[in-house]
């Protein structure tokens, strides 16, 4: 009996201390000006090991160096990223939970009708990085050697050349816009992830796909796959410098993939200003820049709040034109 009492009083004491500590914490101020005063939870819309996760984790490492507070990454893949976006949208707007995603989850999911909310339901903070590593690739068996060749062959046989995508996803939209801008008709297939796309292109079952340069550079060297063009506005010098942009090939088509940091709606402007400040500082760090190039051949780029919002709104409008085709 005595033992129990002792245990109870210890427990009570511990609880009391805990509460006091908790009070102390909030008294010293969770005020927005001093954000972050404790670890920040970051929900990433992809599983560990991919480009989105890599960007989030690299950013997080330098975030801790700058602010002294860690970013704790939670990988919440699933539902095309909608599980993660919904979670953050419904969280308390106190700056403790952040979403790290890219335009695929923030815009394409809305365009495809996968989610019934939009980027307006978040407080978008900034674009901390932009993926510039994606290239359009043709299989060896397709016999396609360049963008001009592709357009010519596609016009000769509309709907014959196959394009690998994940239906309703970012790569599907990439295909649709390419068709629209180049004025050609491709047969869009659902193939799956990047590795499925490579397998099926090597097996000669599909002709075209948009894939990260790093994953296909060996095959370009062996000649099993042919890189046709990069989706960037200007040539990314970290890729093979001979890869032309679509614009250079005569097609007015740019599709860079910005990563986005967003908060639940109603977050204090001071917090948003602060993370912009931090992100700007990180983007200047030479170690951070080198890490991005090592990992995904990606030059560091940071787009601040106002400009980011404008860019995303513009992107959304552009993508919305393909709403009927995507759904």
């Amino acid at each position: 009996m005595k033992k129990k009492q002792l245990f109870a009083s210890v427990l009570a004491g511990a609880l009391l201390l805990g509460t006091l500590a908790g009070c102390g914490n909030s008294a010293s101020g969770d005020s927005a000006e001093e954000w972050p005063t404790k670890a920040v939870n970051v929900v990433v819309t992809a599983s560990a090991g991919g480009d989105t996760d890599f960007n989030a984790r690299t950013f997080a490492t330098y975030f801790e160096q700058v602010t002294g507070q860690p970013m704790v990454i939670a990988n919440t893949a699933g539902g095309g990223g909608s599980v993660a976006t919904s979670e953050v949208k419904d969280s308390k707007a106190d700056g403790t939970k952040i979403l790290f995603c890219h335009t695929g989850q923030m815009i394409v999911n809305e365009v495809a009708g996968l989610i019934d909310y939009s980027m307006d339901d978040f407080d978008i903070a900034c674009i901390p990085a932009v993926d510039k590593g994606t290239v359009l690739v043709a299989s060896k068996s397709s016999g396609i050697t360049s963008v001009e060749d592709l357009v010519e062959k596609a016009k000769a046989a509309p709907g014959e050349i196959t394009y690998a995508s994940e239906l309703g996803g970012y790569s599907h939209l990439q295909g649709l816009i390419l068709m629209g801008k180049a004025g050609i008709d491709l047969k869009i297939l659902d193939i799956g992830s990047a590795s499925d796309k490579i397998t099926n292109m090597l097996g000669g079952r599909v002709d075209l796909a948009a894939i990260s340069y790093g994953a296909v550079k060996d095959y370009a060297e062996t000649g099993d796959l042919v890189i046709l063009a990069q989706y960037n506005e200007e040539r990314n010098e970290n890729l093979d410098p001979d890869i032309p942009t679509f614009v250079e090939c005569g097609i007015d088509f740019v599709m860079e993939k910005p990563y986005i940091i967003a908060f639940p709606k109603g977050t204090d402007q001071a917090i948003i200003d602060k993370i912009n400040e931090v992100a700007a500082q990180i983007a200047e760090d030479p170690d951070y820049q080198a890490a991005l190039i090592d990992g995904y051949n990606q030059p560091a780029e940071y787009i601040a709040h106002d400009e980011a919002l404008e860019l995303l709104a513009q992107t959304r409008e552009e993508y919305m034109a393909y709403q009927d085709l995507l759904q």
């Binding site: 599983s47 090991g49 239906l167 095959y219």
Partner: protein, 507 residues
């Protein structure tokens, strides 16, 4: 090549790297043995830590975690009748009956030894014939995947001969649960009842933890109060070597070879891995090992050998397409691909040429991790067995907590915890009515694979179903499925008739 090997050895045998690998193997075994923690979790957890290491060291640690965790599942499968990971589901079938018979040490010994053998065989295959067999994987498109998933489904539905109806019932229920969530291709929401949580469907790990672990906890909770100290299984750990005789080893060579081939083959194919191969190998051996067919499931060493050889053979198997084609074979190798990528290395056809020393470091790391696994598990057997001395009313609540923690850890949401509990109740009713759980899990895993690939194949073939029969590999698997189905049905009918006449004579 010898030079590269020497370089690999030098890299792995640096003190820092070895310490990391021992640690990795131990942690891997623990993640494997604890129901609720899995290989994927172990590696996802440690992957970010390797970002700062050099690629050779980082990948050595991850390989050690991988090999340890695939093998570690056998411990809980044999001692608790709860598979630690999906890779050890079939190990329960014979492992626990052996334990109940007082042959726990032999079961553990065989499991450990054949895990070792399976890994070694697959690593040797990885080292010497990887580029040749990797080309096989490229020939598998949607049509072939559909055919092979149907084939595996049929194989496993008939696993529980004698109560084939129950096996099929369980498998079909698994198929039904696999349809929950966003449909492949057209993203139609099925059975989501308007919730976000259900839109992603159920995670395979929640299904497995629920069906096997939680249901076992509920079942034992029924009787735990009446349990006497004498009921607790005693494991005699005083055994020589691994507990089985040389004669048994020789006798089991065909089983081990078949299991290794199945494990390797399934490992090579992207999308399916150790979680499927252990069950397929078990079924194949049960059918092929004619003399002992009836002993499977009753505590036969061949059952453990089938499962444990196959699941570890899938490790090397899954590494083959990863390292030669840059195509990950399962969840774990997808993470390993990420580990390569953060160092700016993209595995592919030129990996061996451009990064020879790294490749051989990984080979050596695989071999070293396998030996470490053998040593740690063999010495650890005595410690593992102590788990059984813990009274079950204390042990099982701990297991239960770990299951819940593991479920929450999947993607930090409470939904998965509820899912585990619900599948636990379903699994409990399964055990009451003697419905096997394994076909449910396999139906669940292969169901979505079959559906996705069927629809992709149809899309590729312009909705022409005949394409599934004009592609040679797909056709072969589909026809073999049909033949096997007829064979099993005829066998069952004959059995029923034999029973009838026997009972007729008795009257």
């Amino acid at each position: 090549m010898l030079e590269l090997f020497a370089q690999g050895f030098a890299n792995v045998f640096s003190p820092f790297c070895l310490v990391l690998m021992v640690l990795g193997t131990v942690i891997g075994i623990i993640f494997g043995a604890v129901p609720g923690l899995s290989s994927v979790m172990a590696i996802a957890l440690f992957l970010p830590l390797t970002y700062g290491m050099d690629p050779g060291q980082g990948l050595s640690v991850l390989v050690a975690l991988y090999i340890g965790s695939v093998s570690g599942g056998l411990v809980s499968a044999i001692l608790l009748k709860i598979p630690g990971t999906p890779a050890s589901i079939a190990t329960c079938f014979d492992g626990h009956p052996m334990l109940a018979r007082g042959e726990g040490a032999k079961a553990l010994g065989a499991g450990v030894f054949y895990s070792f053998l399976g890994t070694i065989i697959s690593v040797v295959a990885l080292m010497f014939i990887a580029p040749q067999i990797a080309k096989v994987a490229i020939n598998f498109g949607p049509h072939e995947y559909f055919a092979i998933s149907i084939f595996s489904l049929m194989l496993i539905a008939t696993l529980s001969s004698g109560s084939m109806i129950k096996g099929i019932f369980s498998g079909v229920l698994g198929l039904a649960f696999a349809t929950v969530g966003i449909a492949p291709l057209d993203a139609v929401k099925r059975f989501t009842f308007g919730t976000v949580a259900l839109s992603d469907g159920f995670d395979v790990l929640t299904v497995m933890i629920g069906l096997f672990a939680v249901s076992e906890v509920i079942k034992i909770a029924e009787v735990a109060k009446r349990e006497k100290a004498s009921d607790v299984a005693q494991v005699n750990m005083k055994v020589k070597g691994f507990g089985f005789t040389v004669k048994e080893f020789v006798q089991q060579i065909p089983n081990a070879i078949r299991a290794a081939l199945v494990g390797l083959g399934i490992g090579i194919l992207p999308g399916i891995g150790a979680g499927t191969s252990n069950l397929v190998a078990y079924t194949v051996n049960k059918n092929a090992d004619k003399k002992h067919s009836d002993e499977y499931g009753k505590g036969y060493i061949g059952g453990i050998i089938s499962s444990e050889t196959a699941n570890n053979a899938s490790v090397g198997g899954a590494m083959i397409p990863l390292m030669t084609l840059g195509i990950p074979g399962d969840g774990v190798t997808a993470l390993l691909l990420g580990a390569f990528m953060v160092h700016g290395i993209a595995p592919g056809p030129l990996l061996f040429q451009n990064y020879g020393p790294l490749v051989y470091t990984i080979f050596v790391a695989c071999l070293v991790a396998t030996v470490l696994m053998l040593a740690i598990e063999w010495y650890g057997m005595r410690i593992f067995a102590k788990v059984l001395k813990v009274p079950r009313h204390i042990l099982l609540p701990i297991v239960f907590v770990l299951c819940v923690v593991g479920a929450f850890g999947l993607s930090s949401r409470v939904f998965d915890v509820w899912a585990v509990l619900i599948f636990g109740v379903i699994g409990y009713f399964f055990t009451i009515f003697k419905v096997p759980q394994a076909p449910f899990v396999i139906g669940f895993v292969l169901g979505s694979m079959a559906e996705t690939n069927f629809r992709r194949g149809m899309m590729m073939s312009d909705d022409n179903f005949l394409d599934f029969f004009t592609k040679p590999i797909a056709a072969a698997f589909l026809i073999f499925t049909l033949v096997y189905f007829i064979y099993v049905v005829v066998k069952e009918i004959k059995k029923a008739q034999a029973r009838k006449t026997a009972s007729g004579q008795a009257v």
